[in-house]
């Protein structure tokens, strides 16, 4: 079931993103009717209803005591247009999340279909078999119903349910946090870069380096380099970093960041599915259907609320993701700051000198 949902969402995304429909002779040669007239249809008979109720009240010809029911119906009708506008604007805001570039395809695909209808995407017209109805319910609430071949069953949403969800800071369709942006910001906050490495825009400046206090030094105060082979018989020194110390330093900041993310568990699941579980950034991902399928997806329907094990796993993988995709570049192949130590040297000579030193040190 979950995989079907995932594949349908991915298919819809690729269908909407592609230009394939332009090459469909059937689509191009026929007219497409997108005029669902949602409000016109919903309010078609309300004018008459309003007049009938108003006349009954004015002529004291109500069916209820003191016209209580009629007065309530009148009030509902008067408030209905505002309720409709509020409902539709909230709904469109929620559905439009499905168009975000980092949208989690584990969200219910029916919302992607509904958004395609509301945005008049090719292939989702009345002509293609889709219908949308807004209904004014006697209890004063309103509901919208979507029908069509893309739905396994009609998608029905009530405005009071949607409002209560939104007021509880819960989304119908969850927007995935921009982990790339968050982690770039986090880099500047974890305290391993000197203040001068952070620009006025709050981002790391070009050529930013981790503070020297995290670089491994020899007892005599000189740098303890690692030698790397750069090919053609040449080598050069690179700095070695005290990773344990760096991890100890950044851990409290990452934990705070994760706590912030977990303040909305829906968003944490989206971040997990889209970024964290795969362990690679969107830039590294080639965005094919196979590659955007989360390695170990969590499901909104069954995994909420998140249990403690998942929260712990989230923090662990979040740290790994940060270390591997963001911090690693600053602790790998960093050239010495001492100019003389940064020169390229002959590897054979280096090895010979190293062997000689070993012999002398051990009096061999």
């Amino acid at each position: 079931m979950e995989n079907q949902n995932l594949f349908k969402n991915l298919y819809l995304k690729q269908f909407n993103d592609s230009d394939a429909i332009a090459y469909s002779k059937g689509f191009v040669s026929n007219t497409s009717d997108y005029n669902f007239r949602i409000l016109d249809n919903a309010y078609r008979d309300t004018g008459k209803a309003y007049a009938k109720i108003k006349m009954a009240i004015d002529s004291n010809n109500c069916s209820s005591y003191n016209c209580e029911v009629e007065l309530m119906q009148l009030k509902q009708l008067q408030e209905a247009p505002q309720v409709s506008l509020d409902f539709l604007s909230s709904l469109v805001a929620e559905l439009s999340v499905t168009e975000e570039p980092n949208f989690d395809p584990n969200n219910n695909y029916n919302f992607t279909v509904a958004n395609s209808i509301m945005k008049g995407r090719p292939g989702f017209s009345k002509t293609d078999g889709y219908e949308v109805y807004l209904s004014l319910i006697p209890d004063g609430s309103q509901q919208i119903a979507f029908f069509g071949p893309g739905f396994s069953e009609p998608l029905v949403i009530n405005n009071t349910s949607l409002n209560s969800l939104l007021e509880a800071n819960t989304s119908l369709v969850v927007s995935t946090p921009d982990i790339n942006k968050d982690m770039l910001r986090l880099l500047t906050e974890v305290g391993v870069f000197p203040l001068e490495a952070i620009g006025e825009n709050g981002e790391l400046s070009a050529g930013a380096k981790i503070s020297e206090e995290y670089v491994i030094m020899n007892p005599d105060g000189s740098f303890d380099y690692e030698v790397i082979d750069i090919g053609n018989g040449k080598g050069r020194n690179v700095l070695k970093y005290d990773m344990d110390r760096i991890k100890r330093k950044i851990n409290p900041f990452i934990s705070a960041e994760v706590a912030g993310l977990l303040s909305s568990e829906q968003r944490a699941i989206a971040a997990w599915n889209v970024y964290i579980s795969s362990g690679v950034t969107a830039e590294e991902n080639d965005q094919t259907v196979e590659n955007v399928i989360p390695a170990n997806p969590w499901y909104y329907e069954t995994d909420l609320p998140l249990n403690q094990d998942k929260k712990v796993m989230f923090e662990k993988k979040y740290k790994e993701y940060f270390m591997n995709n963001y911090l690693k570049q600053f602790v790998t192949n960093q050239l010495p700051t001492v100019k003389e130590d940064a020169v390229v040297f002959d590897m054979a000579e280096y090895k010979k000198a190293k062997a000689q030193k070993f012999i002398e040190d051990n009096k061999l």
């Binding site: 949602i38 409000l39 078609r44 004018g47 309003y50 604007s89 469109v92 805001a93 900041f253 706590a259």
Partner: protein, 218 residues
């Protein structure tokens, strides 16, 4: 396109679009605000407690000892001196007997023996006094040296802790300030988005009557 889908007059549809965009932005700002607030709370909760730099200082009196505390009195020489005096007196007594000395000579001899033993006793007493002085002086020196060393070590510990605390505090405060500033910005964004939403909806009201096919509901 969305206008045709929704129906009604164009201004209503554009109002819905404007309001939905503002609502989306308000939700985004609200999510950001919630996350930042939680982050701020976590940072505040996990801030290191203020340490007492003097908490590590302990009572050092138990560590102080005096190397001269158990000096013994050298009694061997005194005993030898007494023995020599005794031998000398015995020889003198033998001589007196042989020469037929008077009883007065015996008395003088006894007094000489007594004096000799008093001299030995005085030597021991002087030695004991000297030891006592050394003990007191040693006590003072040992106490001073150990206190000086411990104070130096503890001073270094305190300075180290103060330095580390200052560094961590400074950096965490920077992070707290930054998060608090971001939170303020997120709140402002949320308020602006809500204001935009209100404006968009207010703009629609002029056209509401058209929704119901021109019915005047007023």
């Amino acid at each position: 396109m969305i206008g045709a889908i929704i129906g009604g007059v164009a201004s209503v549809a554009s109002g819905i679009i404007g309001a939905s965009a503002a609502k989306k932005e308000a939700r985004r700002a609200n999510n950001e605000k919630m996350a930042l607030q939680t982050k701020l709370n976590t940072l505040e909760k996990n801030r290191q407690e203020i340490i007492n730099p003097y908490a590590g200082i302990t009572d050092l009196t138990g560590m102080i000892s005096n190397p001269f505390a158990n000096l013994s009195v050298a009694t061997g020489a005194a005993e030898m001196q007494i023995q020599e005096a005794d031998i000398s007196l015995a020889n003198t007594l033998d001589t007196m007997r042989a020469t037929g000395a008077s009883a007065g000579g015996a008395t003088a001899l006894a007094q000489a023996a007594l004096k000799a033993k008093k001299d030995v006793s005085a030597t021991i007493e002087a030695q004991e006094k000297s030891n006592e002085d050394k003990r007191a002086q040693g006590e003072q020196q040992a106490q001073q040296q150990k206190m000086t060393e411990q104070m130096r070590l503890q001073g270094a510990d305190v300075a180290g802790e103060q330095f580390m605390f200052g560094q961590r505090e400074q950096r965490q405060m920077q992070e707290l300030d930054r998060t608090a500033a971001l939170l303020g910005a997120a709140k402002q964004n949320e308020a602006q988005a809500k204001s935009d939403k209100t404006s968009a909806i207010t703009g629609m009201f002029g056209s509401l009557a058209s929704i119901a096919g021109g019915t005047d509901w007023s």
